[in-house]
């Protein structure tokens, strides 16, 4: 069976597909979020060193990883749009930015609330924290740069350049705890394994999956509005079901 993979590169067909996909990501996200909270608070034991405070990890680590991952996906889409001039890829980049920025903020916020009881400071100018703050500024820069340019195609290209250059920061965040002597601890979960209790791992991975699915659902929902706004002069927009009233 021949499948035309490029069919969904057209905003008109992707609009419908995205609409169908949203609930398939949103509901599992909501269920996994509740399961993750349950395991994180009622199954995972109290930590020997950090007592109950460590439970912030179940939000902090997934949000931090996703803030970096979403940035790379965003930069990848933006680069595709820049190179192949595909409108939909640029729209996906625009759609991912606010969610990425919120995850970067959640990472910094939960980090501050964890740092205060453990390190005695809300904030330190440590390599990990500083590079994550720069990530938040890169997201905000991308959003405001695009918002300041009226012509969407020019906004796409300008944003893409910023996103691509800024992606250098992601490996810096990731390796900062190895390259520099940071107050922030090293990675708890490595490819070689982890010292975490099994139920702590389950809670963290469940929350990670929940936030990942949430990010996909909300970006698909947001990109539908972006598609409609940008394609409003196309014939297909006047023919969608939502316009039949």
């Amino acid at each position: 069976m021949a499948i035309n993979w490029f069919k969904y590169a057209a905003p008109s067909s992707f609009y419908g597909l995205a609409g169908k996909l949203v609930p398939w990501f949103a509901w599992p996200a909501a269920i996994l979020f509740c399961v993750g909270i349950y395991i994180g608070f009622f199954v995972a034991p109290t930590d020997a060193v950090q007592s109950e405070a460590y439970r912030i990890i179940f939000i902090h680590v997934p949000a931090s990883i996703l803030s970096m991952f979403i940035y790379l996906i965003m930069a990848g889409y933006a680069a595709l749009g820049l190179i192949f001039n595909t409108r939909l890829s640029s729209m996906m980049a625009t759609s991912l930015a606010p969610t990425g920025a919120l995850f970067a903020f959640i990472s910094l916020w939960t980090g501050a609330l964890w740092g205060k009881p453990m390190w005695g400071a809300w904030w330190v100018w440590d390599a990990r924290l500083t590079s994550e703050l720069i990530l938040l500024f890169l997201y905000l820069g991308f959003i405001s740069l695009q918002a300041s340019i009226e012509d969407p195609r020019r906004a796409d290209r300008a944003g893409a350049l910023l996103a691509i250059v800024g992606s250098v920061n992601v490996p810096i965040i990731y390796f900062s705890v190895k390259w520099w002597n940071t107050l922030h601890q090293g990675s708890t979960v490595k490819l070689s394994g982890t010292s975490m209790h099994i139920s702590m791992q389950q809670a963290m991975f469940t929350m990670f999956a929940a936030l990942w699915l949430y990010a996909i659902a909300i970006s698909l929902l947001r990109v539908r509005s972006i598609i409609l706004e940008r394609e409003r002069n196309s014939q297909w927009v006047t023919e969608i079901v939502e316009m039949k009233q």
Binding site: R55, L113, R224, S225
Partner: protein, 55 residues
Amino acid sequence: MNWLGFFEMKGYAWYIWGSYGVTLLIIMVEILLVVHKRKVVLQQLRLIRDAEIKE
């Protein structure tokens, strides 16, 4: 189960509920904004269409 003790989180209540509370708030506000944005865009499209029909 002792719920009061649970919420106290051995003295870390503000830090833990501050983390989870703000995260939940951010997610809920984002959902509301995205849903609202969609309504506004569709409304604008209908207004433009109706204006064109009148012409």
